[in-house]
């Protein structure tokens, strides 16, 4: 049973159409990694799903159509989007950022989730009173993920979590994502440049090219695929 299924999704910016009709499904509990060159439409895909840009086509989430919903309603339906560049509230404290993530949840849930996710990110616990804008890039990414998890989402959309981070930080982040997945079986759709790392925790991967899905396979098969190895994994 798929949690998210998308048919003929088109989206873009003004007159420029980026997604040319994307079809995809993600099973409940699955991690799907989206690969593709710059401008292939990876970020646009996530934005179209979360309703932050206008889109056409059908998006069914947990049995309900969400393609007509506003961004806020999509969030309420249970899809959390960690945008590219993290989008933390720079002039609020770390704790306030986390609490704001639970805006749609009641106080008891918020408190319980805050404790739960802070155990995954002990660094954030040390910095609760600090302004989010003063965090390092890696810490900001942790904060952005924690804030998204506070929603108790069924589906987590992650846009380039490793962008601008040192390899060792990225590695730590991926490990935490794997741990979260292991504990919660949360469904994730991850756009990531570091394909090697991302495919290591993913079940499936797909390749976007000029707004079309050109390849979809299991992560293991993609790692063995010659063309994927050459273009996205950096093997000669």
């Amino acid at each position: 049973m798929s949690l998210l299924s998308i048919n003929g999704l088109q989206a873009g910016y003004g007159p420029r159409r980026v997604l040319q009709g994307v079809d995809l499904t993600i099973g409940d509990g699955q991690i799907l990694v989206v690969l593709g060159a710059n401008g292939a439409g990876k970020t646009t895909l996530l934005r179209a799903i979360s309703g932050t840009i206008p889109r056409a086509g059908t998006i069914t989430f947990d049995g309900k159509r969400i393609d007509q919903l506003s961004a806020r309603k999509v969030v309420a339906a249970g899809i959390a989007h960690v945008p590219q560049g993290r989008g933390t509230f720079a002039d609020l404290t770390v704790d306030e950022n986390i609490r704001l993530g639970a805006y749609l949840r009641n106080a008891a849930d918020a408190k319980r989730n805050r404790e739960r996710w802070l155990t995954f990110f002990p660094r954030l616990r040390e910095r609760l009173a600090q302004q989010a804008g003063s965090l390092s890039g890696g810490e900001q990414q942790m904060l952005a993920i924690t804030r998204a998890l506070m929603l108790q989402p069924r589906l987590l959309l992650l846009d380039e979590p490793s962008l601008g981070l040192a390899p060792i930080i990225t590695r730590g982040l991926v490990d935490v994502l794997a741990a979260i997945r292991k504990e919660t079986a949360m469904t994730m759709l991850i756009v990531e440049q570091n394909a090697n790392l991302a495919l290591a925790i993913a079940d499936d991967g797909m390749v976007l090219e000029s707004g079309n899905v050109v390849l979809r396979d299991t992560a293991a098969n993609l790692v063995g695929n010659d063309e994927v190895r050459r273009i996205y994994l950096g093997y000669e």
């Binding site: 979360s50 932050t52 961004a71 806020r72 969030v75 309420a76 959390a80 989007h81 945008p83 989008g87 933390t88 509230f89 720079a90 002039d91 609020l92 306030e96 609490r99 704001l100 993530g101 805006y103 749609l104 804008g133 804030r147 998204a148 506070m150 929603l151």
Partner: protein
Amino acid sequence: MLFANQVIDGLADGAIYASLALALAFSYRSTGIVNFAQGEMAMLSAYAVWQLMTWGLPLVPATLISIAISFAAGAALYAGLVKPLSRANLLTVVSVLIGLYLALNSLAGFLWTYSIKALPSLFPKAHLQIGPLSVSIETVGIIAVVACVLLLLYLLFERTKLGLAMRGAASTPDSAELVGVPVPAMLLIGWGIAAALGALSGILVAPRVFLNPTMMFGVIIYAFAAATLGGFDSLIGAVVGGLLVGVVENLVGTYIPWIGPDLKIVVALILIFGTLLIKPDGLFGRRKVARL
């Protein structure tokens, strides 16, 4: 003693400037727009109290109703004028708000004529003797009322979920949407609170300057000086700026005889000019830094 009295009087004036400066900072912080018509809206709020009283309401209920109406008017201004213009360029928005300033000013003249009216003070006309100091109850009352309002605002922003959501919406609207905060509703409430704060300043100042359509002219200039001095996007800055401007204005008016009451307004302009020259972000303003 004269000095201490001048400082306390200055704080009372400053509290009035602070509430109007806070109104300016509020709308600026949330939407990046300076509401040039804020002072005229405050003037209409004061007239509303007068009108309600001529219809037979006592002063305190009339004041509370006027503040509630002002909140609604501020929210309506956002929904009807500011939000539709949110993608227009800044000059357009500024022109519209200056137009609104002139329109509201003329509206007051049309409805209530340009002859001055007396609005009673919320406080009794008596003096308190504190040691060697003689302070009017009005002075103490104004400071107390504004202090209470500031405390309520502080509690709203620091202790409630609504306040946190409003700060989030003002800080990074796109991210606020992504956690499910209804951003336009938050901005609407913010403009409503701004108008209510403005109304408070208008109602507090009207008994001191008489009710007339141009009564806010001086006050809005001081409020601009206060907001500039404090840093336009800082709420604490608006309050500190307001109090400082009030005190400085009073001391200069008292001790530099050739300035006196007529040239006092120049003090505000010098403060604005000096702040922009020496510390453009004000005392508490954030310097805009972008991390790439």
